[in-house]
């Protein structure tokens, strides 16, 4: 029994953390807010570190790793509020590897020459659908399509997090775009990977908000003392740490279950999304409260992380969707939701 990453996994994660500390600063995140697409020159650099090819099989120039490594890296992406569609490309890569390994996209994604977006059954919004090179679209009937933005009518939508370039997608399936049928199970698994990835990013976001606020509370002096010496402030931040520390092993276990396709994987992923979402929610509220008015501005960096947390809290199934799924499994009081769950 060992509930922790391996040394190799930690080493990879630390490399990514260092890279992002250097190449994804809050100024970089703000630049993504201002641009039409968040996909920047950094995407190729991320590829060089191996990040875009984590789940791409080795024969297509990827690292051939799985959900555990993806989750470890996405925690770091969350900590940095990395704006690129790393998770979406990874979910797409998983579907390519299973249904269209020879379409050429895997090596392109691994090399950072292409970015992919996805739209799974139940999802209404696709991240970076216009700037992505390829869109993987799963339909509720189990048909899986691979399209380009030109095959779709895309309508831009504005996220609370302006670095998330969202689109609604009007897509007419054709025989040319169809790559597989009866893929419901794979689509459900892809959706679970998405939810796990969102949960992992939420952990990183929580840590970042907490660290930023602890520093602030140590330095900000009012009435002659640092505000962090007040019990009320201490308790706000302790509560965030407690939420975070209990969400972490839940996310780790979900990655483990999903990587091995265990029978409990769906439930474990839902629990991870709920726990990480709650941790990030509490972090956003308490850290905003501790910052006071300065935290309520766009001049301070805190909002970059809060807004990403709110966005990822609803993306890939909100808490209610995931609670329903767990309740159905535990209590059997509702029909299991159709798969994929969102």
């Amino acid at each position: 029994m060992r509930l922790a990453y391996t040394e190799d996994q930690e080493l990879f994660r630390d490399t990514v953390r260092d890279f992002l500390a250097d190449r994804c600063t809050t100024a970089d995140v703000r630049a993504a807010w201002a641009a039409d697409t968040a996909i920047s020159a950094r995407w190729v650099e991320l590829a060089k570190v191996g990040v875009t090819g984590i789940v791409v099989p080795e024969e297509h120039d990827g690292l051939g790793m799985g959900d555990e490594e993806l989750a470890a890296v996405l925690v770091e992406a969350g900590r940095a509020a990395l704006p690129e569609p790393l998770l979406e490309s990874a979910v797409a890569a998983g579907l390519f590897a299973e249904f269209a390994p020879d379409a050429g996209w895997l090596a392109e994604i691994a090399a950072g020459r292409a970015a992919a977006s996805v739209l799974l059954p139940g999802q209404r919004l696709a991240v970076e659908a216009a700037a992505a090179d390829v869109l993987v679209i799963g339909l509720a009937d189990g048909d899986l399509h691979v399209a380009t933005p030109a095959d779709c009518v895309l309508t831009a939508q504005r996220s609370v997090d302006r670095s998330r370039k969202l689109f609604t997608v009007d897509f007419t399936p054709t025989a040319r775009t169809l790559v597989a049928s009866d893929t419901q199970r794979a689509l459900a698994r892809a959706a679970d990977r998405g939810a796990l990835g969102a949960a992992a990013q939420l952990l990183g976001l929580t840590r970042r908000m907490l660290d930023t606020t602890v520093e602030y509370a140590k330095q900000r002096v009012q009435r002659g003392v640092p505000i962090g010496s007040h019990q009320s402030v201490q308790h706000h931040l302790a509560n965030v740490l407690i939420k975070l520390e209990f969400a972490r092993p839940v996310v780790l276990r979900a990655a483990y279950s999903l990587a091995r396709d265990l029978p409990s994987a769906a439930r474990d992923v839902s629990m991870a999304k709920i726990y990480a979402g709650e941790a990030a929610d509490l972090a956003a509220r308490n850290c905003l409260q501790v910052h006071g008015a300065i935290g309520y501005t766009e001049e301070h960096d805190l909002h970059l992380f809060m807004k990403r947390a709110w966005a990822l809290g609803t993306a890939w199934g909100d808490a209610g969707v995931h609670r329903d799924r767990i309740a159905a499994d535990l209590l059997g009081d509702a029909p299991a939701p159709p798969t994929p769950a969102f």
Partner: protein, 380 residues
């Protein structure tokens, strides 16, 4: 990552389950805080001891099985899953024994551990005092040197001593150097509650039973042999004990997994949709606690220490326990207020309410988390 149990661990689980299935009393024992219940629980402890299930993690010579941390957690899961009685000796075997193993002399270990494991001597905690609850550095009870008899004379008052009413021996801190500041000058003593000068006053807890006691000490002689660790070294020894109390020693995940699963069954018998989310929440929290604990075990097995992390642990389990039982009472509806209600949920609720108070209140734990883990300046 590897979340599987080894074949040896699974065999250990099967063996524990088989024995518990065959031996757990069919009827719930009376409360351990009644005279009758206290003796019934001691008899159960004896039965566990005779089958070598009382202290599975201890060395064989003291009645244990030398089980590792993971096996111990497995045993706890099976113990609570089987609905076995609460452990009347828990303050001894889970709180005090780890300290005795770490700081006791060989003679002290030989003298006290076997009797503790067999349920012959029930240990009572002597932490709090009227002026020192979660602030143990403020302990006033004192010990004065008695050179002639080779020991110490203890005077003062301890309060909120669990199992104090019928227990046999007390462990706790006394001030040996009245000049020293707060946490200096304290010594850890083991006191015979039958000794001359000891007066015990039972205090009924919320459930009406005298689970607490107030212990008055008036010039009670304690020989040098019953000083644990060095004179004036009591604080660091106490820290080790309270770490056990807040950490996983006293609150293994099995303690919450069992009621969480019973809660699921309770809901299924009479579903109240308004409580559905609370039921799911209780189950998830018990599951998260289990995962967190396995994460801690992984850390310990890699040579790490728990330290202030036990404060995170303590806040989580104590608040989860209250919510879990409160949810059960709501599910029971009108029957929730009945003393002898379905499944002992009311007793469990009353017991759980103590969690956020004892072992250092949760307010103190949150300060510790903020200051020692997050590095915030000391609270004023």
């Amino acid at each position: 990552m590897d979340l599987e149990f080894t074949e040896q661990e699974q065999e250990f689980r099967r063996e524990a389950r088989a024995w518990l299935t065959a031996n757990v009393p069919a009827e719930r024992l009376p409360s351990m805080d009644t005279r009758e219940g206290f003796e019934a629980h001691r008899a159960w402890e004896r039965k566990l001891f005779d089958a070598r299930w009382a202290v599975v993690s201890w060395p064989r010579e003291y009645g244990g099985r030398e089980a590792g941390l993971t096996e111990w957690l497995i045993f706890e899961e099976e113990y609570y899953r089987a609905g076995a009685p609460g452990r009347v000796s828990q303050n001894g075997i889970f709180l005090f024994a780890p300290t005795l193993f770490e700081f006791g002399t060989r003679e002290q270990q030989d003298r006290y551990l076997p009797a503790m494991a067999a349920g012959e001597e029930i240990w009572v905690q002597g932490w709090s005092e009227p002026e020192a609850g979660s602030d143990l550095a403020n302990v006033r009870s004192r010990a004065e040197r008695d050179e002639e008899r080779g020991g110490w004379r203890l005077s003062g008052q301890k309060i909120w001593s669990s199992r104090g009413t019928w227990g046999h021996r007390l462990f706790g801190l006394f001030r040996t150097d009245p000049q020293a500041q707060r946490h200096r000058g304290l010594t850890y003593f083991m006191v015979d509650l039958a000794a001359e000068g000891v007066t015990v006053r039972p205090i009924p807890q919320l459930d009406g039973e005298p689970g607490f006691a107030e212990v008055f000490l008036d010039d009670v002689f304690v020989p040098d042999a019953d000083v644990l660790g060095g004179v004036d070294e009591g604080w660091k020894i106490m820290i080790a004990t309270t770490g056990s109390e807040r950490g996983l020693n006293l609150r293994s995940p099995g303690r919450f997994a069992a009621p969480a699963n019973r809660l699921i069954e309770l809901y299924k018998r009479d579903p109240r949709p308004a409580e559905r989310d609370a039921v799911v929440r209780a189950w998830m929290d018990a599951d998260a606690y289990r995962l967190f604990t396995f994460g801690t075990v992984t850390k310990l097995q890699a040579g790490g220490a728990i330290g202030a992390d036990s404060s995170i642990n303590k806040v989580f389990w104590s608040e989860m326990d209250v919510e879990l039982h409160a949810t059960a009472l709501r599910l029971l509806g009108e029957a929730g207020e009945l003393d002898d209600g379905d499944g002992g949920w009311l007793d469990g609720f009353l017991f759980a309410l103590g969690g956020p108070i004892y072992a250092g209140t949760n307010e103190i734990q949150r300060n510790t988390i903020a200051e020692r883990i997050l590095g915030l300046p000391r609270a004023k």
